[in-house]
Symmetry: C2
Subunit: 518 residues, 2 copies
């Protein structure tokens, strides 16, 4: 079933000694190539039974490779900064950048297995976690990473034998504690839980390699060779894999009706605007100070054509918040460190802590909007992005983060009028650039991309709100009102943040909210 | 005494209304220039009495400027990740990059003032903290930052008046709690502690601006104008200031004797090497597992000419450690995000948590070695670096981090022999580049720089150990032995990590350890 190394094999000393120097040289050469080309990151998972050689294998990789470009990541109890964010946050922040090798001692497999052993989750829930893991790893691989998953296996007998040997030697006796003996007792439980999860996560893009841990030399040589071959193969490959992991249907129906049905003539006169704005800002100020909010977090996503009024709307939200509580994240070109990571990494790094608000001025939807239209990424990339984005937002929602997304729609005429007006106002002049004018030419392509985006990513967890933005007053009030209603709704229904199934109670329609006014 | 705004001034509504649009436009223009040129970061400290308008001022800056390029940083109780590192770590990680404005609501002034009010520190200790702050801010300014420090002042009477007004209005009554009234009672204490600290930290490079908080319009306009003028002035300036803050004596004596006195013929035969290596590795393995170590951290700094054997020595240390416990940080060219920060930022970001080890393969000494010799920074920059580095290491030591620094010295002949040998070994070939050959030509300049470095930065907290490295066996054993002895010594003496004065008990000589063997 697995790309398994055969069981029971042994390698004698002479063979081992002869093989090591060449293997080591080749590993270092491959590592140099990796580090110089910085084409991809390498993620090595080291998991398995106690005493099966996990630690020894990591040490071996350190001995054979250049330790300066290896990082070992251990995940014990999460820190408070980690606990205040979605569970996957700690893994995202630990991902090695392109050119480096990250060795995960403990990974996204540890918690599901532990929870299953302790009967905290059902087999069905374990299956759901396997599905999530598969999609996460597919994302890593599709983003270019080399993912190597090792499971070190040892029989229960072998485990007992090893512990006794350690206890006998005064130099290693300290390593054996009651905890180790307890683990021997739960051998079968681990074996069952892990076996189940391993079978479900043994994917073409990230297959498990099961290593028989009994013979040191066999284990060492096998791991070294597998790492080497995988590195060499990937260094020679020229294309990213593009594994289809979810319904990656081509979006070809004409959804443009969603936008064209919007009534852009909606407006609000100045008097009503002042009253309503003040009312909703006061309400928002109350809501984010609600004790229940302190255990949640809020992510607002703003998308819209240039000059659609994103900045102004964000300002009106900010006015109701404490500057220490929120953060506006203007999404521009990624930095060098961001380019060395998977696409979504630069959004994960800005996720708010509990009780905080993050407002994204342009978002992770860049991939299916500007990058799609301008051809900055391949069709494969933006097609799989829909699924990846839905997964991302699902993870946020699951951990109690509210995701509120706005698309600000203006007409072409209105955009032109605003561009011209901006040129008149001294302190707004900087806002209009050559690029703004160029983007106008691709209006239709952008509208199609928006419609596809709304159709594919308006989920129950995170529906899109389409905002008629030709009139700024109407747009701002609608945004504030929607935001307040969403928070109210979330605070009422989602009493236990992170509680299982809580997010399922939300709007099942998955349709964008009605474009008309309430 | 301060660059103080006059007290008691008021501005009428008409004047205010007339002045704001132009001020706002100018502020936004300056901000655009800042953001486009990315020449420097702006650090704005907003401190002062409660009710004097701190929050209002921050909101105002958000209203007048582009909130997308502002970040407000609040510092409440430190997170566990922050508590496990030196106190200044949380401020370093929050520094705005070049092109952005970071508003500090709470800063490195908050703790000293609070501690003084609670009588936790003496006036003398407050003075010492002032000195540290001055040097930190001088570093920021010398590294190019614009540092604006606002202190919002309000009389006790004014404070009472304001709280009563807030209580009266049902919309704001919730903002007033017993805590606020308690703060009114400690008015004098705050006034005294803050007054003292402000006087001592009112430096030419970061003067305090005291703002009378009573009149909203006066306060707003004044802050806006001061921010604008400072921004404009700094945008036009072409040079970094170069404030001398500590004895920045030119190093002109010939210290080269320190290196030439070393006996590079020292060696260790293979048999003794194997024994001693194993012995010290075992000792190191014990020490880092010592319960007392779990409350400390270790930073090892490795410097040395190319091919001096840093990598090999680091490997021998790593072999004694658990891969999950330590991290090797190879110091190469800074990334884009690192270049947008002060020089030492990229080392602060890698500081280990408690119980962990960070091994730097090349270090913050790059500034006074390669950058000095190759002319990558100005003379001012490397001259002030000695003080900045000593401050950095002092902060580490003060919070319980052990800093152990090794200079590996080889002869020119030995270097050449190693370069040639490397070219023969397949998996080491990558280690030798054109640059290595070029560096050899500057041998004398590097030796001078090393001697200056050792003379200026071998402190009681963090002495240099000079290692005779022509013989790798001798070097590795000496490094391991020194490291073990240092850790033993630290664990014995520094019983209470972070306890005041603990670091003063260390070696007072400040001289590098004797180059001879023990």
């Amino acid at each position: 079933m697995f790309e398994s190394a055969e069981i029971g094999h042994r390698i004698d000393k002479a063979t081992y000694r002869e093989a090591v120097p060449a293997l080591r040289a080749a590993l270092q050469q491959a590592q140099v190539a990796l580090q110089e080309k910085k084409k991809f990151p390498v993620v090595v998972l080291v998991s398995g039974q106690d005493g099966a050689g996990k630690g020894e294998t990591i040490n071996l990789l350190y001995e054979w490779m250049d330790p300066r470009f290896l990082t070992t990541l251990a995940f014990s109890a999460p820190s408070d900064e980690e606990r205040e964010r979605p569970p996957m946050w700690r893994f995202w922040r630990s991902l090695p950048p392109k050119g480096r090798v990250g060795i995960f001692a403990g990974s996204w497999y540890s918690d599901p297995i532990r929870q299953r052993i302790l009967d905290e989750i059902s087999l069905k829930e374990l299956d759901a976690q396997a599905d999530q893991i598969n999609r996460f790893e597919a994302m890593l691989v599709n983003e270019g990473a080399l993912v190597l998953k090792f499971w070190f296996h040892l029989t229960q007998k072998g485990q007992i034998k090893r512990l006794k040997a350690l206890e006998k030697d005064p130099r290693t006796a300290w390593r054996v504690t009651q905890w180790n003996w307890d683990r021997v007792k739960t051998y079968d439980k681990l074996q069952n839980a892990a076996g189940h999860l391993l079978r479900l996560t043994n994917t073409p893009w990230a297959p498990w390699v099961v290593i028989e841990g009994e013979d040191d030399r066999y284990r060492s040589l096998t791991v070294g060779q597998i790492v080497l071959q995988a590195l060499q193969k990937k260094l020679e490959a020229n294309d990213t894999p593009g594994f289809p992991v979810a319904p990656m249907v081509r979006v070809d129906t004409d959804h443009r009706t969603v936008l064209s049905e919007m009534d852009l003539s909606l407006s609000l006169n100045e008097k009503h605007y002042e009253t309503e704005l003040a009312q909703w800002q006061a309400r928002l100020a109350e809501l984010v100070r609600d004790p229940r909010f302190q255990n949640r977090a809020l992510v607002c996503a703003f998308e819209g054509a240039d000059a659609a009024g994103k900045g102004g709307a964000i300002r009106r939200i900010g006015a109701a918040l404490d500057a220490r509580q929120y953060q506006v994240i203007p999404v521009a070109a990624p930095t060098e460190e961001e380019r060395a990571q998977p696409y979504l990494w630069r959004f994960w790094r800005h996720l708010p802590r509990k009780g905080r608000v993050a407002i994204f001025d342009r978002t992770w939807y860049g991939r299916v909007l500007v990058e799609r239209v301008e051809g900055f990424c391949s069709e494969n990339d933006w097609l799989r992005a829909y699924t990846e984005i839905n997964d991302f937002e699902h993870e946020l929602a699951d951990s109690g983060v509210m995701v509120v997304k706005f698309w600000l729609q203006i007409s072409q005429e209105e955009q032109l009028a605003r561009f011209k007006a901006r040129e008149q106002v001294a302190f707004k002049r900087f806002k209009i650039t050559q690029e703004d004018w160029r983007n106008r030419e691709k209006w239709d392509a952008y509208q199609q991309a928006v419609c596809d985006m709304v159709a594919r990513t308006s989920t129950g967890n995170a529906p899109w709100t389409l905002v008629e933005a030709n009139d700024k007053n109407h747009a701002r009030v609608k945004i504030l009102r929607t935001l307040c209603e969403r928070i109210e709704d979330e605070l009422d229904k989602h009493k236990k943040p992170g509680a299982k199934g809580a997010s399922k109670k939300s709007d099942k329609s998955g349709k964008p909210s009605s474009p008309g006014p309430k």
